[in-house]
């Protein structure tokens, strides 16, 4: 038979239930793939042995019919999720050898549903970056790379690359400004950032608390529905998590979209937009139209202010969230003469350049005399962005845009490295969604002329992931993208 790692989770589960394959076989297949592909640098910590022994337990559960929702499915976990007894570093030197004594709610939910963890996935340091190049453990290599190693996107680069290269059945990821969607687009996989509040943030190393949200990166839309159903849910340990009931997302798959109003925002099509991406955007709209959807032109007038507002709010919160990494209680400590020197030495050595840059920006925008001009102004912009979406959703049910304005670029690209703003510009289509707290999915639409994957983004109303899944199902079929 063909490689077990080609199977989606839904397919694997049906074969597991029919006892056609065993969890141990499935896990062994992924471990094999994982070991064959160290060149991608997707994993930073491996727990394959534990996964294999857990697979044996799963086998018993299938044998006595006590198998759970994701019994025996081998997953990769972004290194931002605290995993009890397993090293968790956020890919930062400052969390060297940090082993949490607690489990994040999202990973606990997955464990409770019978999933297995193959290891921890590479990412940009503290999820700050769009190319996975800020990781202390080095960049992830995009499995679609030809001669030149390309970036996998970020910050969840390890998650997207590992799913693309079939090193795990699916992966957890987080998204603060596009960190699920951009790497998904770059690696030709499907990822959804649910509505802010759907997934508990408890036990996820915080970057920007008002924007951070966990979600899955999977091989297809159906797997995203399956995994999100397991990950999401109200958690009393996170005061910002939502009490709204979680629908069975897979029930939306296959529902017809006749009359569904799909909004196309004019502001997302600037003059200089890559024509290839623009034409795939048109193609995606046509696919939905062919399925009976109505295409509607909409406006999101404050879009141009989203990126600057995001790069004020996110660093502001980050500067405060990262204050706890001080060398006093855990992680890296570089001694100094007195407390201040210990702080300086520890944080100078422990944080990478991008993290330091954002801490500095964040500290600056919150400082006395600058707060009103930057932080407060950015919060007002955030409100306007949200209003834009509220108005747009009066006219349409879902919004279709490209995920990224560019295709995957080379690791070490000088244009990106010489000016961080160039890197930030890649987030132009994704950050508004985080500022407004909305759900959005990226799914592959096709290959560029360079044979590199490109992604489309579907943005839904708050707590209306259902409509995203409904539309994504048809878009996925219409695009007929061939996975690696």
């Amino acid at each position: 038979m063909s490689d077990l790692t080609d199977l989606t989770i839904a397919e694997s589960l049906s074969k597991l239930k029919s006892r056609e394959i065993s969890p141990v076989e499935l896990t062994q297949a992924y471990v094999q793939k994982l070991n064959d592909n160290h060149k991608y640098n997707a994993f930073v910590t491996l727990t394959a042995e534990k996964a294999l022994s857990d697979a044996e337990e799963a086998e018993k559960r299938y044998a006595n019919n006590t198998n759970r929702l994701l019994e025996g499915i081998p997953l990769g976990i972004k290194d931002l999720f605290c995993t009890k007894g397993i090293k968790t570093t956020a890919c930062s030197h400052i969390l060297d050898n940090f082993i949490p004594q607690y489990e994040s709610t999202v990973t606990q939910n997955l464990l409770d549903d019978g999933a297995l963890f193959l290891g921890k996935l590479n990412m940009d340091e503290f999820a700050m970056g769009g190319s996975n190049e800020t990781s202390y453990f080095g960049p992830v290599v995009n499995p679609w790379s030809k001669n030149t190693p390309l970036v996998a996107g970020g910050s969840s680069g390890g998650s997207a690359a590992a799913v693309a290269a079939k090193m795990c059945a699916a992966a957890t990821a987080t998204d603060t400004g596009g960190s699920i969607r951009e790497p998904s687009a770059f690696c030709g996989v499907t990822g959804i950032k649910p509505t802010y509040g759907r997934c508990s943030r408890y036990g996820i190393v915080a970057f920007a608390s008002s924007l951070d949200q966990a979600g899955p990166i999977c091989k297809d839309v159906r797997d995203c529905a399956l995994l999100l159903n397991s990950m999401a849910g109200y958690d009393p340990k996170d005061s910002t998590s939502s009490k709204r009931e979680i629908p069975d997302f897979s029930l939306s798959l296959g529902k017809d979209i006749k009359g569904l109003k799909v909004g196309i925002p004019a502001e997302y099509r600037p003059d200089g937009l890559n024509p290839e991406i623009a034409s795939y955007w048109d193609k995606a709209a046509q696919i939905l139209k062919d399925c009976g959807a109505e295409i509607i032109n909409i406006n999101l007038p404050h879009t141009k202010y989203a990126l600057p507002a995001y790069y004020v709010i996110a660093p502001a919160e980050a500067s405060s969230n990262l204050a706890r990494y001080d060398g006093v209680r855990y992680g890296l400590r570089v001694d100094g003469n007195g407390l201040d020197e210990q702080y300086i030495n520890t944080r100078t050595e422990g944080f990478g350049a991008e993290v330091k840059r954002r801490i500095l920006i964040g500290t600056y925008v919150l400082s006395a005399g600058y707060y009103d001009a930057y932080y407060l102004k950015a919060q007002k912009v955030r409100r306007l962005i949200k209003n834009d979406f509220d108005n747009a959703f009066q006219k349409c049910d879902i919004i279709l845009t490209p995920t990224s304005p560019i295709e995957p670029f080379a690791i070490g690209d000088t244009k990106m490295l010489e000016n961080p703003i160039n890197m930030y510009l890649n987030d132009v289509f994704t950050v508004s969604v985080n500022l407004a707290g909305l759900p959005a999915m990226s799914l592959p639409i096709g290959l560029s002329q360079n044979s590199l994957p490109l992604g489309m983004q579907l943005i839904g109303r708050a707590f209306d992931e259902d409509t995203i899944f409904k539309a994504a199902y048809h878009l996925e079929r219409g695009a007929n993208f061939v996975r690696m």
Partner: protein
């Protein structure tokens, strides 16, 4: 109240003073974590992952602390704000694990209120409250264990605090002292803070400035942090005010700075100059939603509110006929007031008050006991007053009875019975003694009759002596007058 004027050869000065008081909230667990607030446990024993600032940990608001704050706000006659917000106050210190304190900044839970204070001259003064907010406490740094290292105890980290800020309404050390005692009395009545300044569960920051007597200006103030007794607060105000006067009269300027009061040398010294003041970079806490209180909850707490010192005092004056001073002294402490109410039930409250504030307090002081461990129960104190009122024992015998009561805790009726101390009110029995005294002292009888009427007292003494103190003095007087 006579103003407290600092008078020098050069002029008269007036004190302007405001207080900020941190009150530790009485609650079973910490304000943002489930950890216990018990004291006396081993160091770092009551520390949750949240309190230790572990990665990915999130605060959740303890409703018990919110209720305690509302109660306290009502006790301060203050507005309860139905909308309040939490903010982060960012600064680095080793005993502040998160690198920020969660507090309330722009929108506190309690708004303006007031406390009326009683002054020694019998007058009262209204001190206005600016606001009260809730926040978390920091841990403790211990510097005296090792010459090169500091140690951190996080048991206190995350314990709930109420910070009460007054308007600059104090014009004398006496007023500040009276305010602190009154505030302490209110929070103890409410059971929201134990008010022990020496243990640090109530801590006071003192802001002081001076101005020429009669002027309306506000001059630069200095703040003295953590002054930890009522007496020290009063001393600190006086010495700091005198320092200001000294500086001004010698042509100097006062700089805004934080100072420390030294109770040994009775002086203050600079802790931190204004230019080194922290920039706390306050911003809204993204991990906690705004705190919205319903009228229902506020009214529910209002309904459950017990009678506070002022109301009790007024009742004691108006219904029980106590003097304002006596009522104030008795009401300062809730236990004393309750003891008094029990003891005076159905009796002459003024007489009970006299006994309570006289012999009873003296006995407690001598034995170094608090009222809860008094050997004399309220019932027995009441019975003792009854015995006097009903002429069963004389005031003189009552003192002896009380002496025994405070040793044995016995019922005064039984003590009187056992010792045969019942006052003789039987006229014929007393008449016999009167007759025998008259018969035995013909010389004095003659002198009395000759006009030396002040000998009556001597005769009374003799009769009472012969009756072993039991003869009712009024009857003795009456009979002697008749027979002499």
């Amino acid at each position: 109240m006579a103003d407290f004027i600092i008078e020098t050869e050069k002029g008269k000065w007036e004190i302007i003073c405001g207080l900020e008081i941190h009150c530790q909230i009485i609650s079973k667990s910490k304000i943002f974590s489930g950890a216990s607030t018990e004291f006396g446990d081993d160091v770092n024993e009551n520390v949750s992952f949240v309190d230790a600032g572990m990665p990915g940990m999130l605060p959740t608001l303890n409703q018990e602390c919110v209720h305690q704050a509302i109660k306290t706000g009502l006790g301060l006659n203050a507005i309860i704000n139905k909308y309040s917000e939490f903010s982060r106050k960012n600064y680095f210190y080793a005993d502040l694990p998160q690198g920020y304190q969660i507090t309330q900044f722009q929108y506190p839970i309690v708004g303006e209120g007031f406390i009326d204070i009683d002054l020694a001259d019998g007058s009262t003064k209204r001190i206005r409250i600016e606001r009260m907010h809730i926040e978390q406490d920091a841990g403790k740094s211990i510097h005296d264990i090792d010459p090169h290292k500091s140690f951190i105890d996080l048991n206190r980290a995350g314990v709930g605090l109420m910070e009460i800020v007054t308007k600059p309404d104090f014009r004398s050390p006496e007023e500040a002292g009276a305010f602190l005692r009154k505030l302490r009395s209110i929070v103890r009545y409410l059971g929201t803070c134990d008010g022990n300044m020496d243990e640090g569960s109530m801590r006071c920051d003192v802001n002081v400035s001076v101005r020429p007597f009669g002027s309306n200006e506000y001059r630069t103030r200095c703040e003295m942090k953590n002054v930890n007794s009522v007496k020290f607060v009063m001393q600190a105000i006086e010495v700091e005010a005198k320092r200001h006067v000294d500086v001004y009269e010698n042509g100097g300027e006062i700089c805004q700075e934080t100072r420390q009061f030294d109770p040994v040398s009775l002086s203050t010294k600079v802790m931190r100059k204004k230019e080194f003041a922290h920039d706390y970079r306050y911003f809204p806490e993204p991990d906690l939603p705004p705190l919205i209180l319903s009228d229902e909850l506020i009214n529910h707490i209002k309904d459950e509110l017990i009678e506070l010192p002022d109301a009790k005092k007024n009742r004691f004056v108006n219904q029980l006929g106590l003097t304002s001073y006596d009522a104030m002294v008795i009401c300062e402490n809730k236990e004393v007031a309750e003891f008094f109410e029990k003891a005076s039930q159905g009796r002459d409250a003024k007489k009970v008050a006299n006994w309570l504030m006289g012999d009873f307090f003296a006995m407690l002081k001598k034995k170094n006991l608090d009222i809860n461990s008094s050997p004399v129960s309220p019932d027995n104190l009441g019975k003792l007053v009854d015995l006097i009122t009903k002429d069963i024992i004389s005031g003189k015998i009552a003192k002896d009875v009380f002496e025994i009561m405070s040793e044995t805790s016995e019922d005064p009726e039984i003590i009187v019975e056992k010792n045969g101390w019942k006052q003789v009110t039987d006229t014929s029995a007393i008449e016999t003694i009167v007759d025998s005294v008259i018969a035995a002292n013909p010389d004095n009888v003659a002198s009395y009759k000759a006009g030396k009427t002040n000998l009556l007292g001597w005769f009374v003494g003799q009769v009472i002596k012969q009756s072993q103190g039991k003869a009712n003095p009024a009857i003795v007087n009456k009979l002697l007058r008749e027979k002499l």
